[in-house]
């Protein structure tokens, strides 16, 4: 079966199941609940979206190949020296395909450069027409800005992925770098690589050309202007979207732009949007007690991840929602959520927006405890300070002085301060941060660590004096 046949086949399948899906949706609306956690998602019910450029029927769940399991357990974050568990990846890929997932997203940079190879091995066991491959031109290092180097990177991707064409190719993470415009020009314009990629698209080696965006919004705007002017045509764009980033991306990280803007700009031009970070780096999967409580009031069976995926999948202009899945249970749950998608209702949307406001108001530090900032030259235990603070937010242990419950406040305050001393020895606490800024360039989350330390310290100081 060639690609064309596959597309026909799959669209027929989608059309054929759509009646069923509608019935199913009605049924669940009546019973008021989705299939319970642990249930096997029924194959053939996956929601698909159509790419207006190529007519690709893309599964709403896309498999992100960046948090692949390693043999020592967990991901390479926990065990950087351990090789990727190819058997587990194969199993997950098989499962994904069997349950309707047909979009696989990787990059030459992922998993210490091993993701494409592993993905290629797993996917090549299936007919090429059964899936779409998405990869990126990840020429981050200035050494790879040279035309030949960048070209070699693309060729390598094809080789590793064991294919002669890429369905979706992205300029990787535009908007980054100290000077975002200079970085963009260096990576894609001055070396003529963007034009070269357009050529490759004309040759059929790239079916869809797009970009992924983080950071400086002026680059995003510039690329869309080029699209409007007919200078370049973008078949799709990968953006960070979730119910917190929708309106509060800027509040979480001053370098980011609200997803509602990004999506709106794409949608009005008819450019399909792919979604990354539907769980905001996993943070939306583990919710603080009060948030969880709100969610459970709405639907006792739904998990926080399910809410996040339903939100991310609801806008019509979304082609696929990428999820970096390590365990097959993640994959099962996400397949369940999108088999089929139940779009969030206006009421549910209002609740999520309310919760987003609360989550942002809690001001958690987006630290993933990767430890790259360590050791702090002045002895601070940076990840533990952040994790203690975030945990207290999540566990609803922040003492709130509202005057009425003085005793309760005192108790909570004692607990907080005592817990802080137990988590971090006093000489390594936030007040010892001098703002030398050595840590900042090491942080992959671009957290302004000294500023966060000062924020936490002034909170502690308030508690002590309150």
């Amino acid at each position: 079966m060639n690609r064309r046949e596959f597309i026909k086949h799959s669209s027929a399948a989608v059309a054929g199941t759509s009646l069923l899906l509608t019935a199913c949706g009605k049924q669940s609306a009546v019973s008021g609940q989705q299939s319970a956690v642990g249930d096997e998602p029924s194959a053939g019910k996956m929601t698909y979206r159509t790419n207006p450029n190529t007519g690709d029927k893309v599964s709403l769940l896309g498999f992100g190949m960046m948090r692949l399991p390693v043999e020592a357990g967990g991901t390479e974050r926990e065990h950087p020296d351990s090789p990727i568990d190819q058997t587990a990846v194969n199993e997950m890929v098989d499962y994904a395909l069997a349950h309707g997932v047909n979009f696989f997203d990787t990059s030459p940079a992922y998993c210490q450069g091993n993701s494409e190879k592993v993905t290629g091995i797993a996917l090549s066991r299936h007919p090429r027409s059964n899936y779409y491959i998405s990869t990126k031109l990840s020429n981050f290092s200035p050494d790879s800005w040279k035309r030949e180097e960048s070209q070699a990177m693309f060729e390598r991707s094809l080789r590793y992925l064991q294919t002669d064409y890429v369905d979706y190719l992205l300029l990787h993470s535009i908007g980054g770098g100290r000077d975002a415009l200079a970085t963009f020009n260096g990576r894609y314009i001055d070396n003529g690589i963007l034009d070269w990629l357009v050529e490759q698209k004309q040759k059929g080696r790239i079916r869809n050309l797009g970009f992924s965006y983080h950071g400086d919004v002026r680059i995003f705007d510039m690329l869309l202007r080029w699209h409007d002017e007919g200078k370049y045509h973008w078949d799709f764009v990968l953006i960070e979207l979730n119910y917190v980033d929708w309106n509060y991306a800027n509040e979480i990280n001053p370098r980011n732009t609200d997803a509602s803007y990004l999506y709106g700009e794409l949608h009005k031009r008819g450019i399909p949007a792919n979604v990354m970070e539907p769980l905001l780096g996993g943070r939306l999967a583990k919710q603080p007690t009060p948030i969880l409580h709100e969610m459970k009031k709405m639907d006792i069976n739904a998990t926080p991840a399910e809410w996040a995926f339903r939100f991310a999948g609801t806008p019509e202009g979304i082609l696929t929602v990428l999820s970096g899945m390590t365990y097959i249970e993640h994959l099962q749950e996400n397949c369940r959520t999108y088999s089929p998608l139940r779009p969030v209702t206006p009421d549910e949307n209002a609740m999520l927006m309310r919760l987003a406001e609360q989550i942002v108001g809690m001001k958690a530090v987006p630290c993933t405890a990767c430890n790259y900032c360590m050791p702090c030259p002045y002895g601070l235990n940076i990840p533990i300070i952040f994790s203690y603070y975030n945990n207290c937010l999540a566990e609803e242990l922040m003492p709130i002085a509202d005057g009425s419950e003085d005793r309760e406040f005192r108790k909570a305050r004692r607990r907080w301060l005592l817990g802080y001393d137990r988590a971090v020895e006093p000489a390594r606490q936030a007040d010892h941060c001098i703002g030398c800024n050595h840590c900042i360039p090491h942080c992959p989350q671009r957290i302004d660590i000294p500023a966060e330390m000062q924020r936490i310290d002034s909170f502690v100081e308030q508690l002590k004096q309150g």
Binding site: P375, L418, D421, R428, H432
Partner: protein, 510 residues
């Protein structure tokens, strides 16, 4: 008769136990603000009340003595009660071990005279050494508190597993070797003296004992020996820890009797009673000097024993110092311990007015040191202010919300202040040392001192280093600096901070 005699003794012991427990908990710095609630117990003490010119307490104690004799020494004074505990143990080892000895009057009054002069001129080393309550305070703070904290830390360890959030961990550290040695010596000497001879210290050295005996000799209620009923069994004399009863002469020395009632329960013949005395009796000369050649006094402590004790103490002290090294974790940068800078003027806590005022009024009981949660106060090692508190910021700084030391001080050396008043008391001023400053020495951007200063007394300004770099360093506004030590404590320069607090001779207010 017998029954009421033993009842009196039971009441005395019960009261003494309660007050002793309270004052000990207070001096241990008991948690949950218990020590602040109990601070009145310290304020009942005679010398602190005298230092604080607390007329009410002084009058009360004098009236108490005029009625009951030196009951103070048996009930209120923790050093007295502590000696009774050793004496009680001594009597378990050997029954009826005491005997009458004549009063060492010249010694008592010489010590009192020296003491009075020292109080008046403010010569702290003698005053603080002789003050009985303070001696007990030092024993508790230096010797018992580490044990108490160890127990607390064990509970805190369990707490940390069980998540009770009740017990917190305390930092164990040697605040002053000198004070530790003095406390150990005091305890050792008093334990031996009390074990063998009861209240020798109280009746020869203690200035409070001597002062109270001036009133006790006229006391309304007193132990009286009815010679007509006495069978000369000598049990009363041999159980008098004050060596005040001379059964042969039938006399009791009321200047030394501490009204403990031990003798009353010993007499099988009803010859002893704690009764009111007539005016004539009370003003008659009650000191017959019978049995002049009986010995056993404070002099009994021979110098050899003293030397041995000193040796043992010094060894214990060095052992404790060697253990104080801190082990650090692997994955984190090592943190060097801070060192105290040389301060030309000592910093005394807010409310102490001046180092001079502190020197004159403090009896070095260590109560404030116990109460200091931030590990700022420690006993001075300076000879003229020996064991009196001073501030230093290697382990913490004077937190704005805390006024505990001023609340507990019984002598008025630290006047009570409020949190609001504290914000306007300038105990010292910050001094900057360019060579230690991290932007100068390492080139790292800093500003920790400026960021943390609670009174905004520090601004970061440009500064050109010797090698021509322009860096940001702190400029201090001494008018705003209150000397809390936060900048010194949080300064990243180690072991010596690049910014430190120099004491103000007199604390500035406003």
């Amino acid at each position: 008769m017998k029954h009421s005699n033993s009842l009196l003794r039971v009441i005395r012991i019960t009261l003494a136990t309660m007050l002793f427990t309270a004052v000990t908990l207070l001096l241990l710095g008991a948690g949950w603000r218990l020590n602040l609630w109990l601070s009145w117990v310290a304020k009942l003490q005679f010398l602190p009340a005298l230092m604080a010119l607390n007329a009410g307490v002084l009058a009360g104690l004098i009236v108490l003595t005029l009625i009951f004799g030196r009951l103070y020494c048996s009930v209120i004074c923790p050093l007295g009660v502590m000696q009774d505990i050793f004496g009680w143990l001594g009597k378990k080892q050997k029954k009826n071990r005491y005997s009458y000895s004549p009063e060492k009057r010249w010694l008592r009054y010489s010590v009192l005279a020296v003491f009075a002069v020292c109080v008046i001129v403010g010569f702290a080393p003698v005053t603080t050494l002789l003050a009985p309550y303070s001696a007990y305070g030092r024993i508790v703070n230096s010797l018992f508190r580490p044990l108490y904290d160890l127990l607390g830390n064990a509970l805190a360890a369990v707490d940390a597993q069980q998540n009770w959030y009740v017990f917190s961990e305390a930092e164990l550290w040697m605040r002053s070797v000198t004070t530790f040695v003095v406390a150990l010596l005091t305890l050792g000497i008093l334990a031996v003296l009390a074990w063998r001879n009861g209240r020798t210290y109280c009746n020869t050295i203690c200035p409070v004992g001597t002062i109270l005996s001036l009133f006790a000799r006229f006391s309304l209620l007193r132990v009286q020996l009815d010679k007509s009923k006495c069978k000369n069994c000598s049990l009363c004399e041999r159980n008098c820890k004050a060596a005040a009863i001379d059964y042969k002469a039938g006399t009791v020395d009321y200047t030394r009797c501490v009204a403990c009632g031990d003798c009353l329960t010993q007499c099988k013949h009803g010859a002893l009673g704690y009764k009111t005395a007539s005016l004539t009796d009370r003003f008659a000369d009650r000191r017959q000097t019978a049995g002049a050649d009986r010995e056993k006094t404070a002099d009994a402590v021979d110098t050899g024993r003293r030397a041995m004790l000193t040796g043992a103490v010094v060894m214990a002290g060095t052992a404790a110092m060697a253990q104080a090294k801190i082990k650090v974790d692997g994955g984190l940068a090592a943190i060097e311990d801070k060192q105290a800078p040389v301060r030309h003027t000592p910093i005394v806590p807010p409310g102490a007015l001046s180092a001079r005022h502190m020197q004159k009024h403090c009896t070095a009981c260590q109560l404030c040191v116990s109460a200091c949660k931030n590990n700022v106060l420690r006993p001075s090692t300076d000879l003229m202010r020996l064991m009196q508190p001073e501030m230093s910021f290697e382990r913490g700084y004077c937190r704005p919300e805390c006024t505990d030391c001023s609340q507990v001080c019984p002598t008025g050396a630290i006047q009570p202040i409020t949190v609001e008043q504290k914000t306007g008391i300038h105990v010292g001023h910050a001094v900057w040392i360019a060579d230690n400053c991290v932007p100068v020495s390492k080139g790292d951007q800093c500003g920790a001192c400026a960021r943390h200063c609670p009174t905004l007394a520090i601004q970061m300004v440009n500064y050109t280093t010797a090698d021509g770099r322009t860096v940001q360093v702190p400029a201090i506004d001494n008018e705003r600096c209150i000397g809390c030590g936060k900048c010194e404590h949080l300064c990243p320069s180690r072991p010596l901070s690049a910014i430190y607090v120099e004491g103000n001779v007199v604390q500035h207010v406003g």
